[in-house]
Subunit: 370 residues, 4 copies
Amino acid sequence: MPGNIYGERFVVVSFGESHGKGVGTVVDGVPAGLALSESDIQPDLDLRRPGQSIVTTQRKEGDVVEIMSGVFNGRTTGAPVMMMIRNLDVDSRSYEAMVNTPRPSHADLTHKTKYGGFNDYRGSGRASARVTAGFVMAGALAKKLLKETLGIEIIAYTLELGGLRADGFTVDDARKNRYSNDVRSPDPELAERMKQMVIKCRGEGDSLGGIVECVALNLPVGLGEPVFNSLDSDLAQMALSIPAVKGVEFGSGFASAKLKGSENNDQYYVDKKGRITAETNNSGGIIGGVSSGMPLVYRLAFKPPASIAKKQKTVDLSKKKQVEMVVPGRHDPVVVPRAVPIVECCTAIVLADHAIRAGFISPVLGGKST
Amino acid sequence: MPGNIYGERFVVVSFGESHGKGVGTVVDGVPAGLALSESDIQPDLDLRRPGQSIVTTQRKEGDVVEIMSGVFNGRTTGAPVMMMIRNLDVDSRSYEAMVNTPRPSHADLTHKTKYGGFNDYRGSGRASARVTAGFVMAGALAKKLLKETLGIEIIAYTLELGGLRADGFTVDDARKNRYSNDVRSPDPELAERMKQMVIKCRGEGDSLGGIVECVALNLPVGLGEPVFNSLDSDLAQMALSIPAVKGVEFGSGFASAKLKGSENNDQYYVDKKGRITAETNNSGGIIGGVSSGMPLVYRLAFKPPASIAKKQKTVDLSKKKQVEMVVPGRHDPVVVPRAVPIVECCTAIVLADHAIRAGFISPVLGGKST
Amino acid sequence: MPGNIYGERFVVVSFGESHGKGVGTVVDGVPAGLALSESDIQPDLDLRRPGQSIVTTQRKEGDVVEIMSGVFNGRTTGAPVMMMIRNLDVDSRSYEAMVNTPRPSHADLTHKTKYGGFNDYRGSGRASARVTAGFVMAGALAKKLLKETLGIEIIAYTLELGGLRADGFTVDDARKNRYSNDVRSPDPELAERMKQMVIKCRGEGDSLGGIVECVALNLPVGLGEPVFNSLDSDLAQMALSIPAVKGVEFGSGFASAKLKGSENNDQYYVDKKGRITAETNNSGGIIGGVSSGMPLVYRLAFKPPASIAKKQKTVDLSKKKQVEMVVPGRHDPVVVPRAVPIVECCTAIVLADHAIRAGFISPVLGGKST
Amino acid sequence: MPGNIYGERFVVVSFGESHGKGVGTVVDGVPAGLALSESDIQPDLDLRRPGQSIVTTQRKEGDVVEIMSGVFNGRTTGAPVMMMIRNLDVDSRSYEAMVNTPRPSHADLTHKTKYGGFNDYRGSGRASARVTAGFVMAGALAKKLLKETLGIEIIAYTLELGGLRADGFTVDDARKNRYSNDVRSPDPELAERMKQMVIKCRGEGDSLGGIVECVALNLPVGLGEPVFNSLDSDLAQMALSIPAVKGVEFGSGFASAKLKGSENNDQYYVDKKGRITAETNNSGGIIGGVSSGMPLVYRLAFKPPASIAKKQKTVDLSKKKQVEMVVPGRHDPVVVPRAVPIVECCTAIVLADHAIRAGFISPVLGGKST
């Protein structure tokens, strides 16, 4: 596959550019019989939509999704589901000026080289975070599928932003609070401090990084393959497909490198309901590549957005000499808040794919008699 | 694909179990015309072989590779290359005792559940690190292919072990020193301290984690696809397929989450040879999913091995009650040293796949006239 | 992959239903730099469009293609190309009546069973020949790519219709005549007789089958893989994906079963230009799964359309008893003429995929300097 | 995938060459819990083994299969099953003489060109029918899987050989008789005439073609995808991967091109057991790409083997001039009898893949309690 298609049984095709006609997805492998309409998709799209608050880019897009195929009488048919949004608030003027001055740490130069200069560089084209709108459409579908068939719930939130890190919160806090504040924090008080930090940073023409943590509850034991398509492998692959992600870790993650086996191992006991459970979850819910039944817990590190208003050095390609530039256009001072629903949706895509692969979701839901 | 096949154009099939007849690989997509014999594969296998030193398991295996297909007159033919080693020093006695007492943080319970109890649990079966011998065979082939066609060099080493972290070394140090000491450190002095720490830990019946860093030099610009098969996506997927890896990060990685854009961005200049270069490499050699021409730099976090000699709690599955156990068998007190050649080989597999995908390596090398 | 995605390097995603909002395709893997606009796609769509002549269905569709992504400044960018047409002349009234009476030799019953009754049965849904409009969009792109890079030309035509078979014509005749008559015959005189036969058959409420032959010229030696993805394997797979195709044969095909080796073998000589050529082409341009440089020649057998106006027997599913029915709706009395451009386009898809796989077309065409 | 890997969920990897060390397969995606040993595989291998009778090549091979992985305690584990045979009776002397004189209608010239002369040409290398031994190993496993889970039975036989065609026989005749005669005919009397024809033809230094028909019984409704991976598409792809196959047709096949819809349609009725059944089976058991529950019926046309003892014309590549040659070596005067078990096995591979895809076979058979 050339690189815009993800998955084995729940397959997500991505298309569209930031400043083209629109952005969308085709999802192949959706089981038949799932109740589905635009109203199942739109809320997640709204959560990632630009221009929502002071902590995001000021580009205004309605991002109204249209389902073009694969649904009949309000239910999925088993055929590919195509969904798309149109681009409306496109302002490409500033990009012509940058054709010869690649923005530092942006894909401008690598993509120009890879595609021989034919790439659509307006608004970063395929490298734009706008492409993730397609991930969200597919992921919103996946979330509904997982919820209705297996009761799986996926909760992501801003764990860290600009060095401020949430602590002492529960999953319930996260479930309740994350979408009630602009920065998607599980902790409303911390959220306000994070927001002020973003405002200050934006004022300085700079940007901030952060960490998104994602928890998935009610996974059955057995999602993931032991070797190349382990559940963590595939989640990591998807995670690094989200723009600006520079790292991913599961359970105790990088911290486990400093632990001893006796500290890191998750020892078993029988819980009150008679289930075999682990006393800790340093494994992050995945052992030997396969979901353990404990909550899936993983974290994604987002770098600060490369587009900043400060003066930076680049090279004028036409003159082959270093020049100074200030990146024009409208940008996010931090991507983490908008990334939270994206991470939930991307997680759902991977879980849906593995749930179908492992036979936990059948090709026809419910099913009418013939 | 069911989960034991990796790649698009340089495809690695994994087969074999820890205590079965052997372990091997089929590599499909190898360009024709590469000089290849067992002597190209054996050195890497020797580097990962168990029983080499005091810091590894005492299982003794010759691990002598045999190339079974795809090579004729000393060169690859374009047909699948099958390679395998036999298992010789198999001692499965201890595993029967553990059938009903899954080892903490081992795949025993997840795989037993997933496969309905039919999995080969001896020596952890498919979950064993022994399966990585197949990765090494395929990767040694990939390394040679990359070296001969593009001059790519891959250097991994132990960055951190048991909390001790190498610092102030160069890639040249790593190239020269890593395989001259038992722990695969770029720093011989630190290596000795790490070794003593492993010996002490083994004596306590415990195990240690660590971090492997991998650098790849001379990559052309343009490896990797912008969206789902970005170079970092695919390297991350492969990384998490190595047993015991719990995290992966590229360039500034998790540290970038605490940086500002003005600190993290890699600004461009024209170097003395007229090449456009970045002043820093926080991107780790990948921007927008595509190799930038700067060195690829990424790190893998390895948890401490789950098999320890200390008493641990688990559940007796037949009685559904908690019991104490001591894991028997021969194990590595730390996997990091043996993981170093594995990481190099796995990196080579991913790079070879992308180099072929992007057209940097042609289906026939050199080529005789017809 | 779930079944609506074709190819390895030139990948065609199909979506849409006969009576839904529209039909389209996403093509991933298109090399960057190909000049492309709707005017490159529309002519082939016009050739397969319904309602063109007396020999086709009377459904009237404009079938005006819109390219939604992957093209910038008039050239492909290397990103996925999404193309679609809207459905306008939809009349679904007749299909409700048939929900419980599956049409003989139609997909009604098999798809209803497979999808638990959730499938979109209007106009046959995904089983409709309308889905092939997406194949044509992708194939028109592939044809242009093949023509511009390798000079490949693809010529399909009606070899046989209703038992009347063309004979004594040349490829030049086919090139010149096939789209000048309603039945797509290389022979204008025969075309008229075929047309009268179709008119007569339509008048009788019946339908006709036929054979399409396809020739591709200027193929390089080396397209196709020796074993599972042989060029004939992949062409056959694609051929059987076209609705109503019941057989495919290459070169001497089924006739070769009655020949001796001494009669069927294609013996070599050196032609006037010094090229090694075969005296005959019973191989149909493919030997050992790989293109030989001789013209590719293959034939597809199309059954007569299952939708006929004659009274037929079926089963009322709600009553589980046999009933008589007359299939309502607007249908083609023969699909062969409309299949001719479809076969050309489908052939182009397979050849483009293999040309990229084998390295004959590079990821960037021409290429601007960076 | 590069071309030696088939399938989506039941995946067959092919490796090995005619005159290399051996030939084999890795099957990934085999459900756990299937009782399996070499004795399940060997009978099918014996049926295709060379040197069995006067109608086949005189190369003598034991073809004793060894299962190397994926089986534990007599049952499949869910891990990849690697199986192989060694080549013993290799006589490569004659092939050196042919390096510069490609055999007519053999892969010699196309493969030499494709692989730049690096291909293993001994015994035709990867183009040899010996490669199908790997298909048979994988297919024998698939046959057992289909039989035990769904009761599917696959029966292939020689329908036509050298122009002699079986007629007036039943599936029961075929089941009973096909492996009781050397030519694999359902009709013992015809078998003798076919055998005499082969003997005569061999004596003349020539070869014969033929047609294999394959029937599969007890398929559930719903195998196959509606568009690109229709059941007929995938069967056709596999069929054309068998050496010497030049055509494939389903049900009424090419004959349907001459029929009217009213003649070709399969009309429904309710049978005595209350099942909806078709009065005829011109569809060959597949409608709209999906199995209908009627018997699968398809036919494969085999050309006469290209290796004949008669003098033929070829080109001396070193001198670029036409020369005469007589193909040396040991060859089959007709491949059809040995192809019969191959066709059964290849059919089983495709059906197993689709049965798993469609959820008819679960990842764990039976299953022990955890």
